[in-house]
């Protein structure tokens, strides 16, 4: 059906009219078979200009408009509103950009006028095939989920819960707290990590809006922004926290001794244990990998001594289903395994530690109650070598990226060491010192000046045991000489890696990961806390290596983004989305594969569009060999007509 289009050519003062004969453009387009009315005006975006459009729509019974003016990034919405005011659908309005893409870049008036005609004609052809569309609206489940309860997850959960929305916080470990709770002091202020984190942990456990699911993992997810359905598997702790009185009798009788995860193997724990004294939830967990009691009639000692009868060997995994509107993913990091570092002894020397182990050694609540002692012989180390970039910035063998926090925490380690062992000597091997951040550079200087830390610029080539010490071979590239140190202890600033199984979770959630395995943000600059999938947000080191303040900031950012969804009863989505043509679809699934948003799926051998997820990029339509999918209002047919219009006269 032929439309009645109105064409409105803006002079933009002399911005357009100076190089384009606007009257001629209006005249020429007026002759187009689908154009019922055309006129020019000095400022279309002004109130009188908009009124002129609105009145022309009514007067000439127009059903669509083209405004030839500046870039659509400026006034597309303005003229859509003018269209609406005139009583026609906002999607019956198109902009022909004859300013930025024409009048401002050309001087030859005749040629610029012809080009402006083509651009306008092209917009007329497009609007002629535009469908009237209404924004897609759908209700929001107004609660959120946070996956991972380290500092980032805790912060995001608290931020959201404090605004009054219910939050489901899922943590795979028996306690929340993440890596931060393992740290002794934090740079650059050297305040005690546990002291600042545990109040937040308690707040989480007591918060009426937070539903805490520890020892739990996300298993399945369906739905879309505003309406996710998540299935979570809660692993059995075999201890009923409501009955448990924390009397600690059970650990005394438990015959099993195994390595302690919280102390990173520097101490041991029983099969039934509390991860650490401040653990939240404060309860015991029976580790089914090590407990013999779960085997029929092997052991039952802990149950025997448990007066309240809190221990239940028959506890089964539980599947919990949660409906949420937004998800924050804060799965954190793990350290690059020492075993990967062949040149540094592949983790086989007990006195070669990674940064987190050293944190535990320094921690007042750690295995040595805050004394720095060699794990091998419990002697005080007099010379300690710290090696930065252990695994980082090494694209050939290890990780290509910079782990960002190591410069700072190594300075802190050296400083803490000196505070514990004032007569000891700390050496730091480094490539560069990256100390961007508030108070960071001063902190590094303090380590050098006040604590006499020796910074050696260069790489360590090899470390090995020698005469009960650890011999470190390296090079000082500034002095240009080889260095040999017989150290009592070596601390490796291991690279940060995405936490184990983050890739599996990403696959489950259908969000992408980058080449290093960190979660991929939607845009590296402009959308750093959003994932590719609408309604899923990223926080903390899961997205990239970062320190505590950055993780907290991103967590609050992610929370704010999630709140923007939760605060609405209904979400609206642009209706300019893909549309399938089932008669042509053969169900090959190529469009499904290319869709960046997982908006497409196959059902009964045909593609189906989830309009809420689709962003209308059209990659599907160019991929489809059978023209069975297209984006509304920018269909191949419209492009075809626009090509024709662009090449005329």
């Amino acid at each position: 059906m032929k439309k009645r289009t109105g064409v409105f050519v803006c002079h933009c003062g002399i911005n357009i009219a100076g190089t384009v004969d606007v009257k001629k453009v209006a005249d020429k387009l007026g002759k187009h078979k689908a154009v019922a009315h055309s006129e020019d005006y000095v400022y279309m975006c002004s109130d009188p200009g908009q009124n002129l459009i609105t009145n022309a729509i009514k007067e000439h019974k127009l059903d669509s408009i083209v405004v030839s003016c500046c870039s659509p990034t400026l006034h597309e919405k303005t003229f859509q509103n003018a269209a609406k005011a005139g009583g026609i659908n906002e999607f019956q309005s198109e902009i022909a950009n004859i300013r930025e893409q024409c009048s401002w870049v050309h001087k030859d008036k005749e040629k610029a006028t012809i080009k402006a005609e083509k651009i306008t004609r092209s917009a007329v052809e497009r609007v002629n095939k535009n469908e009237s569309l209404e924004p897609i609206s759908f209700p929001v489940t107004r609660r959120a989920m946070v996956i991972g309860a380290g500092i980032a997850g805790i912060q995001a959960a608290l931020d959201m819960a404090n605004t009054g929305y219910e939050v489901v916080l899922v943590e795979k470990n028996p306690s929340i707290g993440g890596h931060m709770i393992q740290l002794s002091e934090t740079f650059p202020t050297l305040d005690c990590s546990q002291c600042i984190l545990s109040p937040k942990m308690v707040e989480v456990s007591k918060h009426e809006n937070i539903k805490l699911l520890t020892y739990s993992e996300v298993q399945e997810i369906s739905g879309y922004v505003g309406n996710f359905n998540v299935k979570i598997k809660k692993n059995p702790t075999f201890v009923d926290p409501d009955k448990c009185t924390l009397c600690d009798e059970c650990t005394k009788v438990c015959p099993v001794l195994t390595s302690d995860e919280f102390d990173l193997g520097l101490t041991g724990r029983r099969a039934i244990y509390m991860p650490f004294p401040q653990a939240i939830p404060a309860t015991y967990t029976l580790d089914d990998k090590h407990c013999p009691g779960l085997l029929p009639i092997a052991c039952g000692k802990c149950a025997d001594v448990c007066d309240p009868g809190a221990i239940d060997y028959d506890m089964k995994p539980e599947i919990i289903e949660e409906e949420v509107g937004a998800i924050v993913i804060a799965t954190g990091f793990d350290l690059y395994e020492k075993e990967e570092m062949g040149e540094y002894g592949s983790g086989k020397y007990p006195d070669v530690l990674d940064g987190l182990q050293f944190e535990r050694l320094c921690s007042a609540s750690g295995p040595t109650q805050g004394e720095v002692l060699r794990p091998s012989d419990h002697k005080v180390p007099k010379e300690v070598v710290f090696i930065q970039c252990s695994g980082s910035r090494d694209p050939e063998q290890h990780c290509a990226y910079c782990s960002k926090i190591c410069c700072m925490y190594t300075a802190k380690h050296a400083m803490l060491y000196k505070h514990h062992v004032p007569d000891g000597q700390a050496y730091i091997f480094y490539i560069d010192i990256r100390s961007g951040g508030k108070g960071y550079e001063e902190f590094v200087q303090r380590a050098v000046e006040e604590d006499g830390v020796v910074y050696l610029r260069g790489k360590v080539s090899k470390i090995f045991e020698y005469n009960g010490k650890i011999r470190v071979w390296g090079v000082d590239t500034l002095a240009g000489k080889d260095i040999e140190i017989d150290a009592d202890m070596v601390v490796l600033a291991q690279a940060m890696r995405p936490s184990k199984d983050a890739d599996k979770l990403a696959k489950l959630l259908k969000i992408s990961i980058d080449k290093d395995g960190f979660l991929q943000e939607a845009h590296p600059k402009l959308r750093p806390v959003e994932s590719v999938t609408a309604g899923m947000f990223l926080a903390g080191a899961a997205q990239a290596p970062k320190d505590i303040p950055e993780a907290v900031a991103q967590a609050s950012g992610a929370a704010a983004k999630a709140l923007a969804i939760l605060s609405q009863e209904n979400l609206f989505h642009s209706p300019q989305v893909a549309k399938s043509i089932p008669n042509l679809c053969t169900g090959c699934g190529m469009c499904v594969d290319v869709c960046p948003y997982d908006a497409l799926s196959l059902k009964n051998g045909k593609v189906e569009v989830n309009e809420v997820l689709c962003e209308g990029c059209g990659t599907c339509s160019a991929t489809c060999l059978r023209a069975a999918i297209e984006v509304k209002n920018i269909t191949p047919y419209q492009i075809y007509e626009m090509i024709n219009a662009s090449l005329g006269g």
Binding site: S71, P72, T73, N97, R99, E100, Q101, C102, W104, V105, H106, K107, D108, K111, A112, I114, K115, K118, I119, S122, S512, Q520, A522, H523, P524, V532, V594, P596, Y597, E615, G616, C617, G618, T619, S621, A622, T623, V631, I634, P636, I639, Y640, M642, I643, N644, S646, L647
Partner: protein, 140 residues
């Protein structure tokens, strides 16, 4: 007096980077020849080979497809698909003996008004000596 040949160029610009880049060229008042008519598409990944062929068929002397730099795609990866698809089109066109210079692809970000200007200027200069494109043009 014989008029100088003015090539007709159709440019498929992605909305978020290249079209914005051409807007920037405008805002900065850079000057380039008026031979190019832009068609703004959502993403370079949505440019079907059919569009390119159709433009040549309808008389384009040159066709440009421009998108965001790799990694910058507003739709995350549309430009990667475009890159692959268009590499194939380009190879095939060259193999068939069509002047390969008539078809170009570029990455132009929203900040690269200068680059966009240069691309159009260069393209026009390349096309002028080639004369009208008749091989794929529907004319008879």
């Amino acid at each position: 007096m014989a008029e100088e040949f003015e090539p007709k160029i159709v440019a498929f610009l992605c909305k978020w980077c290249s079209s914005a880049g051409s807007d920037l060229a405008g805002v900065s008042r850079m000057q380039y020849p008026p031979n190019v008519v832009p068609i703004t598409v959502m993403c370079s990944g949505s440019v079907s080979p059919l569009y390119i062929l159709s433009a040549f068929n309808k008389g384009a002397d040159g066709v440009l497809v421009s998108g965001c730099h790799p990694g910058d795609c507003h739709y995350i990866k549309g430009n990667y698909y475009a890159r692959r698809r268009i590499a194939l089109v380009k190879e095939l066109m060259e193999y068939i003996g069509l002047e390969p210079d008539r078809f170009q692809m570029s990455w132009v970000s929203a900040a690269e008004g200068i680059k966009y200007t240069k691309i159009i200027k260069d393209f026009v200069n390349i096309l002028k000596p080639l004369g009208p494109q008749t091989n794929l043009r529907r004319s008879q």
